[in-house]
Amino acid sequence: MGVFILKRLLSAVPVLFMVAVIVFLVLRLSPGDPAVMIAGPNATPDQLAALRDAMGLNEPLLTQLFVWLGQILSGDFGVSLVSGQPVTHLIMDRFGPTLSLSIVTLIIAVVVAIPLGVVAAWQQGKLLDRLVMAGSVLGFSVPVFIIGYTMILIFARILGWFPVQGYKPLSDGFGEFAIRLVLPAVSLSFPYIALIARIVRTNVIEVMNEDYIRTARAKGLTERGVLMGHALGNAAVPIITIIGVSIAMLIGGVVVTESVFNIPGLGRLVLEAVLARDYTVIQSVILLFSTIYVFINLVVDLLYSLFDPRIRY
C-alpha cells in the first residue's frame, strides 16, 4: 500500500507539470495583461512598459515559464500582480470558505442522494422511482444561480430563516458558520444529488440481481436489511467513484455559488484574477485545484480497498 501511494504521488508529478505548462501557455496566449489592467486607461506607454518590466512580463516566455516553475519548486508562489499580496496568503485566506462550502455540499449531496437512489432502486419502475428520476434530471437542468436565487427568496427573504449571504469562519462559532452555509450548500448540492442518486439507483439495481442478495433474502432478512446491509455495500465502488468525480466538478461549480451567496472563496478569487489577468494568482490556484484533484483521486482509490476487500494495492 505504501508503495502504491508513493507510486501514485510520483505519477502525479508529470500530470501537475503538464497542468502548469498548459495553464501558463493558455494565460500568456490570452489577450490583455495585468499591467494594462492595473495602469488604467490613462497610462502612457512608458508607464506601461515600466510596469511590465517590474512584473517581469518583458522576459521571453520560456524564461518566464522556467522562472515560475523554479519558484514553485522552491515553494514560492509569488505575489499577486494586482494586489501585491503574497499568493500563498491570498489562497490561505480564500481556501477556508471554498473548502467548507464544498464539504458541506458534498455531505448534503451524499446524505440525500444515497437514500433517494436506494428508494428509487427499491421501487424500480414504480411511481416513486419515476418521480425521483425525473426530479434528478430536473436537478441538473436548472442553472445553479437560479436555484440559489429561489432559495434566497424563500428561506432568507420570505421565511427569514437564514441570512442572504456572507461567510463566517468556524472560529466565529459553529452557529454563525453553519447558518451561512446552509443555503449555498443546499443549492449547490442539487446537481450532485441528481447525479449521485442516479448512479446509486443504477448500481443498487444491478447489485440486487446478484446471487448473494438472494442468499441474504433466504436468511430471512427484511427488504430494508437486504438493501442497506448487502446491496449498498456492494454498490459502493461506483458510488465512491462518482462522488470523487463530483468533488472534481464541485471545484468548477463553486464559482457561481460563491458569487450568488457572496462567499469569499477560491472560485471568485480565480474568476476575478482571470478578468484582471492576475497571472500569478490564476496559475497558483489552478495548480492547487489540480493537486487537490490528484489527491482526491488517490483517496478515492484508497477508499475502494476499504469498501471492497477484493481490491488491494
Partner: protein
Amino acid sequence: MTDIASAPKVVLSVEELRVDLVPAGEKPIVRNINFQVMEGETVCIVGESGSGKSVTSMAVMGLLPKGSLAVTGGRILLDGEDITRVSATRMRELRAAGVAMVFQEPMTALNPVQRVGEQIDEVLRLHRKWSSAERKKSVLDMLERVHLPDVQRIYRSYPHQLSGGQRQRIVIAMALILRPRLLLADEPTTALDVTTQKQILRLIRELQDEERTAVVFVTHDFGVVSEIADRIVVMNRGELVETGSCDKILSDPADDYTRMLVSSVPSLIPRCGPIEKTPKVLDVVGLSKTYGKKGFGKSGNLVHAANGVNFTVRKGEITGIIGESGSGKSTVARCVIRLTDPSEGAVLVNGNDIASTNNLKAVRKKVQYIFQDPYRSLNPRRTIAQSLMEGLVNYGMADAEAYAKAAETLELVGLPAGVMGRYPHQFSGGQRQRIAIARALVMKPDLLIADEAVSALDVSVQAQVLDLFETIRKRTGIAVLFITHDLRVAAQICNSIVVMQRGQVVEAGTAADVLSAPQHPYTQTLIAAAPAPGWDFQNFRPSRAV
C-alpha cells in the same frame, strides 16, 4: 439407501404446484408438481436446463422473484403449514429456521465485501436472541462441523480469500446453522471440481444423518443423483415426468424422456481406440508459461501455469487434456493458438514452430479455438451470419461466397441456414455451441481446440454435441485437442489423454490406458472421485469394466 426406522414424518409436501409468469403467460412455467419429502430423506430433482427445477425450489423458499413469477395454484406444506398463504413476516421466520437453501454458485452466493463469519452470524442475529459471544461460538462450531480448517482465520476471511470448496462449505454452514427441518440445495456442487464435490456430498449426508434433515437436492448430474438420492423427481419443461426411488429410475425408467435423459450420461468406459499412423498435426515440446509481473518487489507471485508440457495430436485424433481446475489446461491451449505467448518451448503445427512466429494470421488459419461459454464467445450484437463469415472475410473471401460457406457449415452442425439472420440470444445453449463449432469449422482448420466446449451443456445436449465432434472428425479427419474436467466426457470421445496437475503433465497415454489403468496417484484420485463410477447409465445397469 438409508433405512428409515420409525414411521417417516413428512416434512415437505408439494401438491399440485403451479407457478406462472406475472402477468400470466401462455403456459404456466411450472405445473402439476406433486412430491413429498420425509424426515432424513434426500429427494433429487433432475431435468434439463430450463425444466423448472430452480423455480420449484424457489417457490418452496418463498423467494420467487416478485413481480415476475408467482405461485398461482396448489399448496406447499412445510410440516403441515401452507407457506403459500403465510404472511411475509412468518415466511422470514421460516427461512433459515424451517427451510434453508444452498445455492448453486459458491463464487457468487456470498457477499464479497463482508467477512464470511459475519455473514453466518447474521442468520443468528436475525433469528436468535443470543449474545454476540454465544453467536460467535456457535458459528465457529458450525465451521468445524463442515470440516473447515483453522476456523478462527476462516471466520475473519472474505469470500475471495477462500477456495470454491471452502466457500460452498460456508454456504452450507449458513444454511444449517439453525438446524432447519428442510434443506434445499440447488445444484450445490455443479461449479466444483470432482474431488471437492465428493467431499461436499459426503458432508451433506453426514449432517443430514445427525439432524435428520429432509433434503431436496436439485441437479442435472446423474452421477451425483445415483450417489445420494433416496428418491428422484424428474422434470421436463415445467412438468413432473416421473418420480420414483433412485434404483427404479436409474435402472428402469418408465417415461421416454427419463430414458433419454439417463442414457445421455456418458460412460466412464473409454470408447475410442488409439490412432497412430497419421501425421502429427500438433507437437508440443517443453512448453512452459509463467505468469506474473516483472518489476520491483513483485518477484514473489510468479505462477508457473505450464511447466515443460509435451504431447502430440495426430490427424484424425482427439487428444483430451484432463485435470482439475487451475492445473494449466487452458494455458496450454491458449499457447497453442498464441492467444498467450509461451515463455518457453516449441509448438509445432504441421511441423512449423509457431511459438515465436510473428505471422499469427497464418497460424490462425490452421488452428481454431472453441470456447467454454458458448454465450460469451459469440458477440451478442452480431448476427450468426456475421459471426460465421468473419473469419472467411478476414482471409479475403468475397461476402457472397463466405455466406454460402457459412450456411453450408451451419447445416453441417445441424442448424438450418434460415437462422443466419438471428442473434445469439435467440438460441439455446446447445445451439449456440453448435454455432461456435461451425464458426471454427468454416475455416477448415487442421487443428481444433475445444476448451471445455461441452461443460456448460445439459447431458442430453452434451451427448448431441459430442456426437457432432465424432461425426466431424470422421468426415474431415480433423485433429482435435479436447480439454475437459469431466472424465466421462473424456472417456466418450478421446483417443488419447493427457493428465495435468499444477502445470505439469503427470500422465499421458491412450484413453483406455489412462482411464482404466491409471498409473499416477493423481490420476487415480481423479478417477476415484468421479461420481457413480459403478453405473453404466447408457445401459441402465451397473458397469462391468470397473
